[in-house]
Amino acid sequence: MPSEPIIFKVEEGAIQRYAQAIGDPNPLFNDVENAGRNKNGRLMCPPGFTGWPIKGGISFIKLVESLIKAGAPPRLLDGGVEFEFFEPIGAGDVLTVTTKIANMVERETKMGKTMFTKVETIFLKQNGNVALKSWSTLIQF
């Protein structure tokens, strides 16, 4: 079952701070003054940025807590991510985010009993179109 949708707005300042933290000087993500002149007419998000906090829509902590309650091991690592981009996301967009567990696999690894959980997140834009889909892998051991 997908989570209750979370709705939030992408802020210009949050985009700039994110680009600065990566060390990415690309004017598309930084230059507010000239943003009106790029092809999108506004400051755009670097790929994978969907507003602050980046994992907010996923409610990671709640999800992990529920997995632990259900018997998953308590130590957590981020295993990786896949993104598929459908429409650009930029300042002022209002995203509706839903999350669901796509699959879970338990395997014996060098860390012992290890649970791999794939979480699917879908980001809808205010126009109703899918802007982004992501699949994150949580590793619990």
């Binding site: 949050a14 701070r17 994110y18 600065q20 933290a21 990566i22 060390g23 990415d24 690309n26 598309l28 790029n38 092809k39 670097p46 790929p47 994978g48 940025f49 602050w52 906090p53 980046i54 994992k55 907010g56 130590r75 957590l76 690592l77 981020d78 295993g79 990786g80 991510v81 896949e82 993104f83 598929e84 981009f85 650009p88 860390m111 892998t137 051991f141």
Partner: protein
């Protein structure tokens, strides 16, 4: 950013312009604030040890964001990133700071990639790439993949 290039400029085996990065404790603090990931795994020694990684580690999502920059720098404003993925297979440890601005000497990470496939589909000129982050020892601990759409000279006016 480099000058815009086109689908026709790319061949299988073409190298993506490499991007150098230096993870520092300062960068991790900045990343935590900007991303909203406040997991103590990335700043607290005891917690990181208890999690089995020895010491605070570089956020996987920060390495993924570097790979995003590798691609957006390369494809330019007229290119479009369609897919991006990577796996965090190993731990990376940030350089500590020597002064407020300058890190100690140490590891430099390189984001790299090469073109594996190019094809036209539904009017788009698509290019597939393998990408990765290489640590200071040259190990590819963050392997990934990307698909981009590039402008074509055929469509240029």
């Amino acid at each position: 950013m480099a000058e815009q290039f086109y689908y026709e400029d790319v061949e299988i085996g073409t190298e993506i312009t490499p991007l150098a990065k230096v993870a520092t404790t300062r960068m991790l603090v900045q990343w935590a604030g900007a991303s909203g990931d406040f997991n103590p795994l990335h700043y607290e020694d005891d917690f990181a040890r208890a999690m089995g990684v020895g010491a605070p580690v570089v956020h996987g999502a920060l390495k993924r964001a570097w790979l995003g920059q590798l691609m957006t720098d390369w494809i330019g404003e007229q290119g479009a990133l369609k897919k991006l993925s990577c796996q965090y297979r190993g731990m990376d440890y940030p350089r500590k700071m020597k002064t407020i601005e300058e890190p100690h000497d140490g590891e430099t990470w390189w984001c790299k990639g090469t073109v594996t496939k190019k094809y036209e589909k539904e009017g788009q000129h698509l290019v597939e790439c393998v990408i990765w982050v290489e640590n200071g020892k040259g190990e590819k601990m963050t392997p990934g993949a990307a698909v981009v759409a590039l402008p074509s000279r055929g469509n240029k006016r």
